[in-house]
Amino acid sequence: MSNSRRLFLKGACAAVVGASGFTIATAKDQAGSKVEQSCKYALVHDETKCIGCDACSIACREVNQVPEGVSRLEIEREGPFGEYPDQYFRFTRKSCQQCDDTPCVKVCPTGAAYKDPKTGIVCVDEWKCVGCQYCIAACPYQIRFIHPVTKAADKCDFCKETRLKEGLLPACVDACPTKALTFGDISDPESQVVQVLKSAPSYRTKTDLGTRPKVFRIAAKGGEINL
């Protein structure tokens, strides 16, 4: 009896050591593959230029066939600030932040949520998704939703499947009349997106959660100072 128990304990210890060793080994693998990444797409939303016309979200809905009632991209409006007739609003982009450290990918039980190693874009494999909604709960930016037709989780993928494939810019970037959106490869120091980021101070939201988002914002001058 005591012998078998000892044997069991030894076995259990070996299993634990093996499992942790495996996890560490695969973690190293992942770190290794990051270096080979060919590019890393990022987006800058210049809030100083944004007029809240919704051209981006309308274009997004059209191009990506997003049904009514859900959306991949929304412009949130805050305000009005100031006194009439000198009032202003503040517009912020609500869409996938394309985190480099992705809470959604981490929690997905089937691997349906994944980060494309070639582009750094966070994507959803519609077929693999079972609709457990764990990713929707895990996303601190609350931008994931269940697509009413496919029943899979869905969100902005920088138009990877619709426009990037054809060598075009994401629909929102193309549609913006004031050129408030800049898209490009952040790993390329010559890219426009890097130039824009270097030209003005930018910020990202909820960075304290360690998500390292790839959607940057240039803050509008207006707006309230929140303590």
Binding site: M1, S4, R5, L7, F8, L9, G11, A12, T23, T26, P103, V105, K106, V107, C108, P109, T110, G111, A112, K128, C129, V130, G131, C132, Q133, Y134, I136, A137, A138, C139, P140, Q142, I146, K151, A152, K206, D208, L209, G210
Partner: protein, 313 residues
């Protein structure tokens, strides 16, 4: 803001029931193992309490999995969770634990009920006795494995929620422990309630044994619950906002103070202490105490799930 409908709500009550069922399954089987190991030995299968625990454990786990599958937006694709694994996902690891747990559970049930099953077979189907004997040979290993898996399952119900950085109240290191301990106490309550309903002796040694463990478990649960909220409030920021919104005035505040603290913890603790002092245990005492505990744990799961999702980081 409505207590059951708000923007940041992703997982509604079926998930709370699933968490409750997984916890009660793990808790019940732990108590069955303890009863067999320390009190009853080979005759464990004759006890109504062990029978109850052995019924609750598999039924609860099946019902819980059923709820989980129905709650998917693509229920017919549930098999993909079993085929594709993601080691960084708590849910994926939890599903793996659940699968192995079920195997260990049935293997252990076979060990416990070997004698009555073989008696019933009465020499027919020799393959059955061969299988049962083969399994029973490894009873020690199976028991150890089962207890570890049951504890993992109980903790998993908490880790599932605590992995969500979105919600500061859920993203809390105490949560898995709290759910594990409350799962164990619900398992004890389920075993007691089922046992007396299955004509177990309400003043039997099983009840004395379980009650002796239940009292420290309830005390521990109170400590953990206190730590849970004290930790949140001391953290400040959104954690504090979330904690105060949860236990402050309002629908869920009432659920917490009246449902969880009074009905779920204080009353069972008082009844248990009273029964220990007065020595004589009756059916009604045991049943009422156990029901209070079960209601409390079920409310706790719903309370944590809903209020946890109310405040985002």
């Amino acid at each position: 803001m409505s207590p059951f409908h708000f923007d940041s709500l992703v997982w509604p009550w079926p998930i709370a029931i699933y968490l409750f069922l997984a916890g009660i399954s793990a808790g019940a089987i732990c108590f069955a193992v303890l009863l067999k190991h320390f009190k009853l030995g080979r005759d464990a299968y004759k006890s109504g309490f062990v029978q109850a625990a052995c019924l609750i454990a598999p039924l609860a786990v099946f019902a819980g999995l059923g709820i989980l599958v129905i709650d998917l937006t693509k229920p017919f694709d549930f098999w993909k969770i079993l085929v594709f694994y993601n080691p960084t996902s708590v849910m994926s690891v939890g599903v793996a634990v659940l699968m192995v747990y079920q195997v260990a559970l049935f293997a252990w049930l076979a060990c416990v009920f070997k004698t009555p099953v073989l008696n019933w077979c009465n020499g027919r189907w020799p393959i059955v006795s061969k299988i049962f004997n083969a399994i029973a040979k490894h009873e020690a290993t199976i028991t150890g494995l089962l207890v570890m898996l049951a504890l993992s399952l109980g903790a998993y119900t908490g880790f599932l929620l605590s992995a969500l950085t979105t919600y500061p109240m859920l993203n809390n290191p105490v949560l898995p422990l709290l759910f594990l301990i409350s799962g164990l106490s619900s398992g004890a309550a389920g075993t007691l309630l089922g046992g007396v309903l299955l004509n177990g002796n309400p003043d039997g040694k099983e009840v004395h044994f379980i009650h002796n463990i239940e009292i420290p478990i309830i005390l521990l649960e109170i400590v953990l619950l206190f730590t849970f909220f004290a930790g949140l409030i001391l953290t400040g920021g959104q954690s504090q906002v979330a904690a105060l919104a949860a236990i402050g005035e309002g629908f869920w505040g009432w659920i917490f103070w009246a449902g969880v603290v009074v009905v779920g913890l204080s009353m069972p603790l008082a009844f248990n202490l009273f029964m220990k002092a007065s020595a004589k245990r009756k059916f009604s005492y045991v049943a009422v105490t156990a029901s209070c505990s079960l209601v409390g744990v079920l409310l706790l799961r719903n309370f944590i799930l809903y209020t946890g999702q109310m405040t985002i980081a």
